[in-house]
């Protein structure tokens, strides 16, 4: 499991990447983020973009949509975890079926949040993710 040297409650800031094909959702997540330690370093609209952005920004925390054009979220999770095992990924998806959730967790996701969500639900999920 992830043994990131930085602790969430510590001073060090975390780099956040948002992956979602919907502009609204990207901005929504960005706006809802109440954690000062979490600094947005980039947003991506699909898996391929996410991987590219990962190479440039090395994020610690990722929110990941599942149904996206080009590379989908499940595959992207697998790739990201392979590149950086300590990465923490919150799946944010409208797909509410169990098999999808299990699949995502198995690929290495750390949390699962169903769309639509409230600000509170998102922040709780992020807090849970960083625990």
């Amino acid at each position: 499991m992830s043994t990131n040297s930085a602790t969430f409650n510590g001073k060090r800031s975390f780099k956040l990447m948002i992956v979602d094909d919907s502009n609204i959702m990207r901005r929504r997540i960005e706006r809802s983020n109440k954690f000062e330690e979490l600094e947005l370093v980039g947003t991506a609209g699909n898996g391929e973009e996410a991987l590219e952005l990962f190479g440039k920004t090395d994020p610690d925390v990722v929110t990941m949509d599942l149904t996206m054009p080009r590379m989908d979220g499940i595959e992207c999770i697998g790739r990201l975890v392979a590149l950086k095992p300590s990465i923490r990924i919150l799946v944010v998806s409208a797909l509410a079926d169990k098999a999808t959730a299990v699949e995502a967790m198995e690929k290495g996701a750390n949390g699962f949040l169903n769309k639509p969500f409230t600000d509170r639900q998102l922040n709780e999920a992020i807090a849970e993710l960083m625990r």
Partner: protein, 148 residues
């Protein structure tokens, strides 16, 4: 025959979106039946369903409603693309709900979005659809369930 639970799942998926995303619940208006393709508003999010049931389910909303919805979501971009995103997200939610409730029987497509007042939504000819008005604030959208 469509089961009540199936219809409810689609309806709840829709109203839930308003309640959660905009913090203001939507109510449903008087539902009715329609033969042939019903009229649509400017923006429509469509999901295709196959498997035990075949057909489409779509959410169609007027621009005015989406504008207010975006405002309530503290969005300040009211571009065409954002509107499309938004109905796409509603359809996404409906699709997610349906996958949760009858994933074993249905194959549910990823939502697609069409815009304009005369889009081509491939309804099966001869289908009877359920039209469920979705009332939110002073606006009204439609959820159309056309399954057999």
């Amino acid at each position: 025959m469509l089961y009540e639970q199936e219809l409810k799942t689609f309806v709840e998926g829709t109203t839930n979106f308003f309640e959660v995303a905009a913090q203001q619940p939507a109510s449903i208006g008087s539902p009715y039946l329609m033969e042939g393709s019903p009229s649509v508003h400017e923006y429509t999010g469509v999901i295709n369903i196959s498997g035990k049931r075949e057909g489409v389910v779509y959410f169609t909303a007027p621009k005015a409603m989406l504008t207010v919805l975006l405002m309530k979501m503290q969005e300040n971009d009211f571009s065409h693309e954002t509107m499309r995103d938004l109905v796409g997200e509603v359809a996404n939610t409906i699709s997610g709900n349906a996958r949760r409730d009858f994933g074993r029987d249905f194959v549910i497509s990823v939502p697609s979005v069409v815009s304009g007042e005369k889009p081509s939504i491939p309804l099966r000819p001869g289908h009877r659809s359920f039209i469920i008005p979705i009332n939110w604030r002073s606006h009204s959208a439609k959820l159309v369930v056309a399954l057999a």
